[in-house]
Symmetry: C2
Subunit: 258 residues, 2 copies
DNA sequence: AAACATAGTTTCATAATATGAAACACAAAA
DNA sequence: TTTTGTGTTTCATATTATGAAACTATGTTT
């Protein structure tokens, strides 16, 4: 069994591209007319019309009977949600993450490894504080420059971690972002020693995180969670305090999940 | 400009059906092999292989290099999330809903009308109580048998409300579900008098809700929000208390949104 | 080791499908 | 009225997707 290595140079199904491009445009534009769509897609209006009817037929698009404009329905959410419910970690982790939020009053995230990134699969927000962190279930964050990412990288085999680093587009997102592999490795060994990882405004200025990963029964890092808060609430002392709670939660999660 | 009224009897693009069916199977099955997929879809394996490669090309599917199994990536979430960020109500409502949760300690939902249903577009959970309500952003609930639904129906034109009732598949979900149009109308006029709607275990046994709708500047009901809780925490007295907070929140939201 | 079985992958002649120019229908604007 | 700008429908044609069959790699049985 040999599995393809090189990427395809063109989509083997032309309409597929057109279908999804149409959905993507609809997602970002909101209700839009046929001509506009045809223009932005660079396709003949008949073609777009047919594509839209196909999407309507399947329930992913609707047309406003008054304005004749087209827009997406909420059906993609079914797909998206199913993707999450597949994995039972969300349900298992929930109560523990809530407990963590209740204890520390800060927002907690749960992520899953997905290639070079960590995808947010759950989020428990504290409603007692008013600072809004821009994060959403389904969004992703690079592994090399996030707390959860480093928690995960630290527990991977050195080869895997190196491979991810090499494939990642290393960008200096803030002045604190690590852009040197040597430096990262030092941090990772520190993470292994401490059991938790930190994000010191490496991804976004003004935000510090403390994170820990969740390994499966084989010892492979699969998920991670973090507490994020603005720097003014994240002094080094506070981090030492939170670290205790984080390690406790990690222990419980790994025990219950496996 | 005449807009199509009758539904198409078949998909004008055959592959479209196949593409999305493939995604739906992948969503519910999790990682799956080519032969299994080919079997469940009833398609030739070459065809499925091509479809999968197309989806991989676009980034919606990935193949595990070790097991050769196919599964969805998290890319559909980009589409799904964009659908929400289009509408600024979520961001506007957030702080007010959080305040409401902080005040009453129960889970609060925000919904949007979508045809015959109300779709959850946001949710603020209370982490102090441990009862889990099964609801998720992106899921939907029929208008005729939910608190938010009745809050919305009450503010629609009688014709619109009737049309939705007629098109809905009325089912007795619990012993309290309203299945008679006359009865619904009486409830709706009560809702209009009080300014808020109730769901008295009409959708799910053991759960009561109090809800109010948010109208746009034209007076059209667009969104609604609700407080849900198990019956034992939702006595009639408690509801009277919560009603005050709900009406207050409604007022603020309508003022800020328009 | 050899033969077999079972996965995924690739090829290619052919049938089936998507394409888009053009005609059409309707509404609003000139 | 005429014109302009929508969305809709049609249809000959080129293009595209199709799936049977051949192929390859891996694991299993003889």
């Amino acid at each position: 069994m040999e599995h393809k290595l090189e990427a395809l140079e063109k989509n083997p199904i032309q309409v597929a591209d057109r279908l999804f491009q149409t959905m993507e445009v609809l997602a970002s534009s909101g209700p839009i007319g046929l001509m506009d769509l045809s223009g932005t897609l660079g396709l003949n209006k008949s073609t777009v019309h047919r594509i839209l009817n196909s999407l309507i037929y399947m329930g992913y698009v609707k047309q406003n009977p008054e304005t004749a404009k087209y827009s997406l329905t909420f059906k993609i959410w079914d797909l998206a949600n199913q993707l999450l419910t597949q994995n039972d970690i969300v349900d298992i982790a929930r109560p523990h993450l809530k407990e963590l939020v209740a204890k520390c009053g800060e927002t907690v995230h749960l992520v899953q490894v997905d290639g070079l990134k960590a995808v947010y699969i759950d989020k428990v927000e504290s409603y007692t504080n008013s600072v809004r962190l821009v994060s959403k279930v389904g969004k992703s964050i690079p592994l090399y420059c996030s707390g959860v990412g480093k928690a995960l990288l630290a527990e991977m085999s050195p080869a895997d971690a190196k491979a991810i680093w090499d494939k990642s587009e290393i960008q200096k997102l803030t002045e604190h972002t690590i852009t040197d592999y040597q430096a990262l490795q030092e941090r990772l060994s520190q993470v292994r020693k401490q059991g938790y990882a930190l994000d010191d405004e490496e991804n976004e200025l003004g935000v510090r995180c403390i994170a820990a990963c969740i390994k499966d029964y084989k010892g492979k890092p699969k998920y991670a969670f973090s507490i994020s808060a603005p720097v003014n609430r994240m002094s080094d002392e506070r981090i030492s305090e939170l670290a205790v709670a984080v390690l406790e939660t990690q222990k419980k999660l790994e025990a219950e999940w496996n």
